[in-house]
Symmetry: C2
Subunit: 715 residues, 2 copies
């Protein structure tokens, strides 16, 4: 059963506007014009204080006078009137609203309080709403457009949800120029009730929507976001842009919709965990979403590059290879089949370059068909299909030679037939993406775009969209998500933490930290806490040589620099002496830990930090000094599943260090996974734990062992 409120809100049998009048210079009117003029077939009930009619429709003085509860109410009135209006709508039995009005959370304390009351009012009546401070929605399936700009295009397959209203208003013309068409689009505004996560869930459930694009400045409930996205992404691609991670970006986002931003690198991990493909511009958010929404999924990474000129072919090849794809040299057989279709010396081996030739059939249909039928490729990029745009470009030069033929007549005389070309992707289940320097003003570009074959305005963009298809191929190939239950709470760990808290300590000491981690299955040094030279000697003898002795106290920092760490102890005597020396160096009586020295030149790091609205984030990466130097680390939000942890180990740039490397055995990734799952479980079971830092984790042979660990408490 679909419980998402947007199924109802997006499909109303009637729409009431509150605030829209007849002055077309006012925002309310522009919203109403979109509702009444773009093809919506439902009833329209304008509510207006004074006017008898609004846009030719009978108007009502107040909400109370409406003949029925509207399927959807669109509210565009000064913010101070919004709550009474919602109350009136609720009493009438209305269930859904869109609140365009600004002046809530984004303006500070007064607005925050008003937004809280607004939510309470809606809850009281069981109402759900989008906004406030939003630009409305578009549902092309029923031609419902509540934004301020005209929607001209037929229904499409791309779902869109945005934390900026601009991207579904100012861009409608921009999108039309590129042949990109929405299924549904939502400007979510301040998300006082319905959030972008609800929008994502709804678009995931919507059958018209084949791919989803999200513009994000900050997600309020990240764990739910991940959970919802994880359900969707194995079957329906999701791309997202996140821009809240910079200083000014966070400042701007906050004042814009009051969104709560998080660090960029954490969002990187969130998107990977969720199976969402991150893009870094609004252009790619639309354009790559469009490729995913229209093209069959890529089944492998072999790409054919077919062009009418060398430069674009080289550029597309370059990007595809950088993006992890292959441009395989065609087989002898395929090359021979291509040869007669192109000029004598033109390259036929992939890239295929038919050179500057007007043989449209070869370029757009015959060669692509041969490539798709060959079984040698999984995707195809094509540059140079030109129709009337090319004719227009040369027309001023040639018009006196052609006895009054018009541009259209010349174009027709070229006999460009693209019917076979546009059918290729679906027929062969192979995605095809085009590049052309001629926009929709060109008949060929228009023909492709109108039949859902994306045409980008430069070769690199086409190749990059193919890279995104390849990234989605890898998302589809992930193991099915198995929800992770945190490991059951360890009473031993809880007691250690409780004891430290009762003692007023802000952190566990190293030995305690390792015990807590070990309680959840993390591999730590086998060690003993000792309080005398005799105990130190006995521990070293029991655990083996060479031994390490370290002062154990959460209060003392920089132990190495202070001489509180003794390495390479070779005998009981040395261990005993080390204990005594450490006492002297510390200046106070301090217990110590003794363990057998862990040898290995590969150092890793694991850890956990908490972020508002996101929750505990688990980190893994290159350890030792390189943690600080290179920040080669991966993040995931807890709960971290075994599959998540395993992806983290493959994600770091230096992941090769975990394989067989310079005569060292491959790391036991199962043990690393255990360590990361333990960190995740400590974070979830013990909210008192503020931060975990395990550095280094040394690979002893193949076994990762936590050699040092810090657990900070408090909030």
């Amino acid at each position: 059963m679909k419980t998402n409120p947007l199924h109802g809100l997006m499909n109303p049998a009637s729409v009431a506007t509150i605030g829209a009048g007849n002055n077309f210079m006012k925002m309310g009117t522009m919203h109403a014009l979109s509702i009444t003029k773009d093809g919506y077939k439902g009833k329209f009930y304008p509510v207006h204080l004074k006017d008898e009619t609004v846009l030719g429709h009978r108007a009502y003085r107040s909400v109370e006078e409406l003949p029925e509860a509207p399927g959807l109410a669109l509210i565009v009135i000064p913010s101070e009137h919004v709550i009474p209006t919602m109350d009136a709508l609720g009493r009438l039995g209305a269930r859904y609203a869109i609140i365009i009005s600004a002046g809530f959370k984004e303006i500070g304390p007064k607005g925050i309080e008003m937004e809280r009351e607004l939510v309470e009012t809606a809850r009281r009546h069981g109402m759900r709403f989008i906004g406030p401070n939003c630009m409305g929605i578009v549902n092309t399936a029923i031609a419902l457009n509540t934004t301020v700009m005209e929607l001209r295009d037929k229904p499409g397959p791309l779902g869109f949800a945005s934390q900026s209203g601009t991207y579904i208003t100012q861009t409608l013309k921009y999108l039309g120029n590129r042949g990109i068409r929405f299924s549904k689009a939502l400007s979510v505004g301040n998300e006082a009730d319905i959030s972008i996560v609800d929008a994502l869930e709804y678009l995931g459930e919507d059958e018209q929507t084949k791919a989803i694009s999200l513009y994000i400045e900050g997600i309020r409930d990240v764990p739910r976001f991940i959970e919802v996205a994880r359900r969707i992404t194995p079957n329906k691609p999701v791309v997202a842009q996140y821009v809240g991670g910079s200083k000014a970006g966070a400042r701007s986002g906050k004042s814009h919709t009051g969104a709560m931003a998080g660090p960029d690198y954490i969002y990187d991990g969130i998107f990977r965990q969720a199976g969402i493909i991150r893009v870094d511009s609004i252009e790619d958010l639309y354009g790559h979403g469009w490729a995913l929404a229209t093209q069959p999924p890529l089944r492998g990474n072999r790409i054919a590059v077919i062009t009418n000129s060398g430069g674009p072919g080289t550029a597309m090849s370059h990007i595809c290879e950088e993006g992890g794809m292959e441009i395989p040299v065609f087989s002898e057989k395929l090359r021979e089949a291509v040869r007669p279709l192109i000029p004598p010396h033109a390259p036929n081996g992939n890239p295929v370059d038919i050179t500057f030739s007007l043989d449209t059939a070869a370029l757009t249909t015959e060669i692509p068909r041969l490539a798709m039928e060959s079984g040698e490729i999984d995707g195809l990029v094509l540059h140079g299909a030109m129709g009337s745009g090319f004719v227009k470009a040369i027309y001023p030069h040639i018009k006196e030679f052609i006895q009054g033929m018009t541009i259209d007549e010349i174009t027709r005389s070229l006999n460009i037939d693209l019917v076979g070309s546009v059918a290729l992707p679906e027929k062969h289940g192979i995605p095809m993406l085009l590049s052309s320097f001629f926009d929709r003003d060109d008949s060929s570009t228009e023909f492709y775009e109108d039949r859902d074959i994306p045409v980008y305005d430069s070769p690199e963009k086409t190749a990059r969209a193919m890279v995104t298809l390849n990234r989605y191929r890898l998302v589809r190939g992930r193991e099915p998500h198995v929800p992770a239950e945190p490991l059951p709470l360890s009473r031993a760990a809880a007691e250690i933490i409780e004891k430290a808290r009762r003692a007023g300590r802000g952190a566990l000491d190293e030995h305690e930290a390792k015990q807590v981690l070990a309680a959840y299955g993390a591999p730590v040094t086998d060690e003993r806490l000792v309080e005398s030279a005799e105990e130190a000697a006995a521990a070293a003898a029991a655990l083996g040589y060479p031994a390490v002795l370290k002062a154990c106290s959460a209060e003392i920092l920089h132990k190495t620099e202070k001489g509180l760490v003794r390495l390479n102890l070779a005998s009981e005597a040395e261990a005993a002496a080390a204990f005594t020396e450490v006492q002297k160096a510390a200046g106070v009586k301090v217990p110590a830990i003794v363990y057998r020295m862990v040898k290995g030149s590969r150092e890793l790091v694991a850890g956990m930090t908490r972020h508002e609205g996101i929750g505990p984030c688990v980190m893994f990466g290159l350890g030792g000094v390189y943690t600080e130097l290179l920040r080669d680390v991966a993040f995931r939000v807890a709960p971290v599943t075994a599959a998540d942890a395993s992806e983290m180990t493959r994600e770091i740039r230096a992941s090769k260090i975990l394989g067989e490397f310079r005569g060292m055995p491959a790391a036991d990734t199962g043990a690393i996974v255990k360590l990361l799952v333990a960190v995740s479980s400590v974070a979830l079971n013990h909210p008192e734990v503020r931060e975990i830092d395990i550095n280094p984790v040394i690979l002893s042979g193949s076994m990762p062992i936590a050699v040092d660990a810090l657990i900070a408490l408090g909030s």
Copy 2:
């Protein structure tokens, strides 16, 4: 004195075409149409075998019949006729030609031979030419266009040279749509004579050209390229796209113009060394070149972000910060000045968001002026200026309310005055870049573009163009280039190399390699070559403990794994024993080196490889196992100056390792520079040296010391 042949070739008093006729479906005719129709005022001499007139001009049967030597000859005939034609032109006294005809080097052995003959023929007559296999040139200063597409725009400030003809033909309309205008543009084709380096030099000397864009698939003479670029880039910005570095890219480039490609990472170093800003798409090559050509240079990194909507502001801020710029919060004073210009709760602190408002004057002129006058910012990005495009977008909705007013009338009624806005950058010496979702179809976009203020079609592109202005700021700020003489040849080094070659060895042994490097001033281990246990003991005693003893032989690889390296030797006895053990492990008599162990946990790498057409390339980066793991390395082409070497140390991602770090002192970068200059000098003075690999270079305190070194010989 300007000796570059392009000053003559690009400014002919007359142009002859050889091959152009009256059939407008043929390429030759299309080239001739551009010459005759786009405003060129010089004489036009068509040479045609049969036709009496060509495009209404008197035609000549042969080159011999021409009334004078043409200032420029454009040749579009089958390749086998090109050489005789060039010969005839030469005899007539012609000095310059453009050879459009393909079928030379790019088709294989026969074409290569023909191209060689072509060059000889031209040389014999003292002729210079562009091509073959090119698309021609554009010189907007004299309205000369020899490409196949119409050139409609007035002269501009962007110079362009391309190894793909597509980018100055298929894109002319594309560029017009974006307001981008060339000064000069050249398709260089196979570069049999005039190369892209000549084109770069010419554009550097051309006064009309304010910035230069280069599309590159492979540079033949990289040292000259760097030398030419170094002269230009301190005063005139150069951007370049390189796409030859991938496997398929190299394949495609080779078959396309016969260009010789090199690895992508080497080109990265080449561009940095030359002060050229690398971009990764044709869109940025044009668009960023256009920003550099039109805007005052950026003098600092503080950017104002001014928009009519939050999303674009957040997105632009994000990219600017990622690109190393700052979005400073405006001072109280500036914020107060901005406050009355925007709605009550709209953000005024930078980003400034006037929210969805039609107050064009505030957005485009008043707030930008306040920001520029404040002294608080160095550059400005602006999103949301809209004119007729916005009116068109809402017109279908509002037309019945406005009593027959046209789109133009409504637009005029908005009283948009951008005259003050477009004057701002020049007046304040502060660059301003715009973003709008409305293209030139919008009156505001057109107004800005026609007055050389770039307008990009999405916020991220605008911000990225500003990042490029910032990159050029850093190039302008570089120390003036002082040409590097290689260090004088070391006879000692030459003798060591000669001895090894005479012995038929493919590499120097470690001791020899270090001696060669030391001869050029590189800091290496102070070591002795020993041939007996006694000598080993004496060496250890003399050099100090702990000592290292290593078998020294170019033939034996993987010495560590074979037990041929003994560390931590603490006495003469241990050193002597180590020598004996190493002999046993080697199974043959082998000399050894002894040095005092170099302690330090920071490992670097330096080296040299040779690349065809590029010459010796010097490398520096993170050493030890991390070289292989992370490829965190920088490259420069020899001769490497001290400034180059110093830039390399700052360029690696982990450059922080060279500073004060974890209690370790900052590295002596002067000594690292010395090491890299030594590597460069060995490469230049000793062409027999094929490859140098110095790994690790250990930082002993602040001092870098080459602890292991390999020098391979041969070609």
